[in-house]
C-alpha cells in the first residue's frame, strides 16, 4: 500500500488548511504519480507566460497542412482529418466537437515563394467541422503548400 504523507516546512509559520466544500457527496482526489507542485489559477497563467489578470482562452483545435501535390497534414491538435473537397476547399474535422458553432477561427496561407496574398474564408461551420476556402489574389480558388487554421472558444 502506498501512503500519503503531509509534510510541514520548518522555516515557515503559516498554517495551511485543507478545507472541504459544502457538499453531501463523497469525493476522492487522486494525486498525480509524478513529482511537482499543484497548480493554482495564478500558477497556471504563469505556465502560459501570461502577465496581468486578463483571462487566457486556449486554442481548441489546430492544423497545419500541405494543400498541394499529395495533400497531407503536417501536425494538428483535436483534428481527426481534413477533407479535400476540391481546389482551395478543405474541411477541418474536429476530434472532439466544439461546445457550439460560435467559435473564432484564425487562418493562414502562403506559398513560400511569392508575395501574392492569399485569403482564407469560412465556407461553413458546425460544432464538428470547419470548411475553409482559400483564394489567391488574381487567380481565384487556389491550393497552397502552407495552410493553417486555429480555433478558439
Amino acid at each position: 500500500m502506498s501512503l500519503v504523507k503531509i509534510q510541514g516546512n520548518a522555516s515557515g509559520t503559516g498554517i495551511f488548511t485543507v478545507a472541504a466544500p459544502n457538499s453531501n457527496t463523497d469525493r476522492t482526489l487522486t494525486l498525480p504519480d509524478s513529482t511537482g507542485t499543484i497548480a493554482t489559477a495564478e500558477s497556471t497563467l504563469s505556465q502560459f507566460n501570461a502577465s496581468g489578470s486578463a483571462p487566457v482562452y486556449a486554442c481548441r483545435a489546430w492544423v497545419n497542412f500541405n494543400g498541394t501535390s499529395t495533400v497531407a497534414i503536417r501536425a494538428s491538435g483535436n483534428v481527426t482529418s481534413i477533407t479535400d473537397n476540391g481546389t482551395g476547399d478543405y474541411t477541418v474535422n474536429f476530434t472532439t466537437a466544439m461546445p457550439d458553432a460560435n467559435y473564432s477561427y484564425v487562418f493562414g496561407a502562403d506559398d513560400n515563394a511569392t508575395n501574392t496574398p492569399f485569403i482564407q474564408t469560412m465556407i461553413s461551420n458546425t460544432t464538428a467541422a470547419l470548411r475553409i476556402g482559400i483564394w489567391r489574389s488574381g487567380v481565384g480558388r487556389a491550393d497552397t503548400p502552407n495552410c493553417t487554421a486555429a480555433i478558439f472558444r
Binding site: 481527426t80 482529418s81 479535400d84 473537397n85 476540391g86 476530434t95
Partner: protein, 62 residues
C-alpha cells in the same frame, strides 16, 4: 497514415479525407468524418493523383 478515404460529392466530384495522427484507425475516421449515407472507399495514398491541375474534374468510380 499512407491511406486516404474517398467518397462522392453531391456535385458529381470526389472528396478525399486525409487522416491526422489522432489515435483513431482509418476505419474509425471514416465512420466519423464521411457524411452519413455516403459510400466510401479506403485507398492507398499512391492512388490519389498528385497533380491537382484538374482537381475539379476528379470523379468517383467505385
Amino acid at each position: 497514415m499512407n491511406q486516404r478515404i474517398i467518397y462522392p460529392t453531391d456535385d458529381g466530384g470526389v472528396a478525399v479525407i486525409i487522416p491526422a495522427d489522432c489515435g483513431l484507425t482509418i476505419e474509425e475516421i471514416a465512420t466519423k468524418d464521411v457524411p452519413a449515407g455516403k459510400p466510401y472507399e479506403i485507398v492507398d495514398v499512391s492512388e490519389i493523383p498528385s497533380d491537382r491541375t484538374f482537381r475539379g474534374a476528379w470523379t468517383w468510380a467505385s
